[in-house]
């Protein structure tokens, strides 16, 4: 699995989760992912973990390969598990790790099965009650969307900078190339801002 797919990417389909309303998918995320943290009981957490996996594989009909949480999450989970087992109790660690993985999988379900335009409608309608306070729901939804779409873009640009360096015979990129990734990201944000502005998409509604 590629790093830029960490959060999943929308794919059309007709699985159960594709047909479910956004609210349901979001509630699943909260109920199976977030609530067990507070319950703090390891069997509950373990059960929600299994359920979350089923939602991804059966509910959204995604390949089991997409359960792979990737290196960063694995390392952190392992660290926390070891720490908790030594100083608190292994049960805490299990609750923690299960919660983390469930959230990740259910977030993938959400992104994989919900078209951006549906997600934006949902976010905008959530923000609508705040309109009298000066909020602008459409712009809010747009901003969240850009953030969400920028994550894979940024992960990809790390690869791009590495390729650019390699294409010139510089093999070991390392930390020197954090700067180009960030300067590039800011540059793209500015250009993206101009493009949005030019398309009249970011004007107050």
């Amino acid at each position: 699995m590629r790093l830029e797919n960490y959060l999943g990417a929308y794919r059309a389909g007709d699985s159960l989760m594709h047909r479910a309303p956004v609210v349901v998918k979001y509630l699943l995320l909260v109920v199976l992912g977030v609530v067990p943290f507070f319950a703090g009981r390891w069997p509950v957490s373990a059960a929600t973990l299994v359920l979350s996996a089923l939602v991804l594989v059966v509910g959204a009909r995604r390949s089991p390969r997409e359960l792979d949480p990737m290196l960063g999450v694995l390392v952190m989970s392992a660290l926390i598990l070891v720490y908790d087992s030594f100083f608190l109790s292994w049960r805490n660690g299990v609750v923690f790790v299960c919660g983390t993985l469930s959230c990740l999988w259910l977030a993938r379900v959400l992104t994989c099965t919900t078209p951006a335009s549906v997600l934006m409608d949902a976010i905008a309608s959530l923000a609508r009650p705040f309109k009298p306070l000066g909020a602008s729901p459409e712009r809010f939804a747009l901003t969240i969307n850009i953030m969400w779409n920028s994550i894979p873009g940024l992960l990809l640009s790390v690869r791009q900078v590495r390729d650019a360096a390699r294409a010139r015979g510089i093999e070991r990129a390392g930390w020197r190339f954090v700067a180009p990734v960030i300067v590039g990201a800011v540059g793209r944000a500015l250009e993206m801002g101009e493009a949005l502005q030019a398309r009249g998409l970011a004007d107050n509604d």
Binding site: A116, N149, P152, Q197
Partner: protein, 244 residues
């Protein structure tokens, strides 16, 4: 109609020794552009993109004024941007959503409230640009030309009354260039494009030649393009970096 009244642009930057300096990248441009099809040509770095960005206030004139249908983009930005669509040279920076379909749907949000209807219309727009086969592909996997077409479609989908296109054919193949040329001919809107593609420029009603921040030529395509060709051929023979 677009009007420039002694418009000039200065930018802040740092010089070789790290001192803050100001450079003039456009000087004293006075023009009125009533024609339907206008091309802007000129050397790299001459100021074409800057000239175009003044139209919808992406860059503001630091001296003089620009008027679009009587409105000043610097002060009535929103009203102007509702009328003016701007297609940038680099399509990568212009696409904000994950797939071409979402991109077009984003453009249509303001005009079509119903989601199903919006998606249907977006697919139509993509199809009319020969892009339906990439509708659900990640924009990151599109080829350069495919991306440029998506960016153009996204801007046209908003339905602006003036279209500004900054080098719209750079990444296109011959077929798409022909198709784009025809699409431009058939456009109801006013079109102003900058380009290095002299075949595209030759199809326009009027051509502006920009050089070192000044409009140095203005007239019919044949006349101006011929002058530009001549100038460039001469400069190509000067020692490297001799100009400017």
């Amino acid at each position: 109609m677009i009007e420039y009244r002694q418009a000039g642009v200065e930018v802040d930057g740092y010089d070789l020794d790290g001192r803050a300096v100001t450079t003039r990248i456009l000087r004293d441009v006075t023009l009125s552009l009533p024609q339907r099809r206008i091309a802007v040509i000129g050397a790299n770095g001459s100021g074409k993109s800057t000239l175009l960005k003044l139209v919808n206030g992406l860059i503001r004139a630091t001296s003089g004024q620009v008027l679009v249908e009587g409105l000043d983009p610097a002060r009535e930005g929103r009203a102007v941007r509702r009328r003016v669509g701007h297609v940038f040279t680099d399509p990568a920076a212009q696409l904000v959503m994950a797939t071409p379909l979402e991109e077009i749907e984003l453009s249509l949000r303001a005009s079509i409230r119903n989601r199903v209807e919006r998606q249907r219309r977006a697919l139509e727009v993509l199809a009319s640009h020969g892009l339906e086969h990439v509708a659900n592909r990640s924009v990151h996997t599109l080829s350069g030309g495919e991306r440029q077409l998506v960016a153009l479609a996204a801007v046209l989908a908003v339905g602006p009354s003036i279209v500004i296109a900054d080098e719209p054919t750079t990444l296109l193949d011959l077929r798409n260039r022909i198709i784009l040329g025809r699409a431009f001919d058939g456009l109801d809107q006013q079109l102003v494009c900058s380009t290095h593609d002299l075949e595209l420029a030759a199809r326009m009603d009027r051509v502006l030649l920009v050089d070192a921040g000044r409009v140095m030529g203005d007239g019919s395509p044949q006349e101006i393009i011929a002058r530009y060709r001549e100038q460039m051929a001469v400069r190509a023979d000067e020692p490297a970096g001799g100009r400017r």
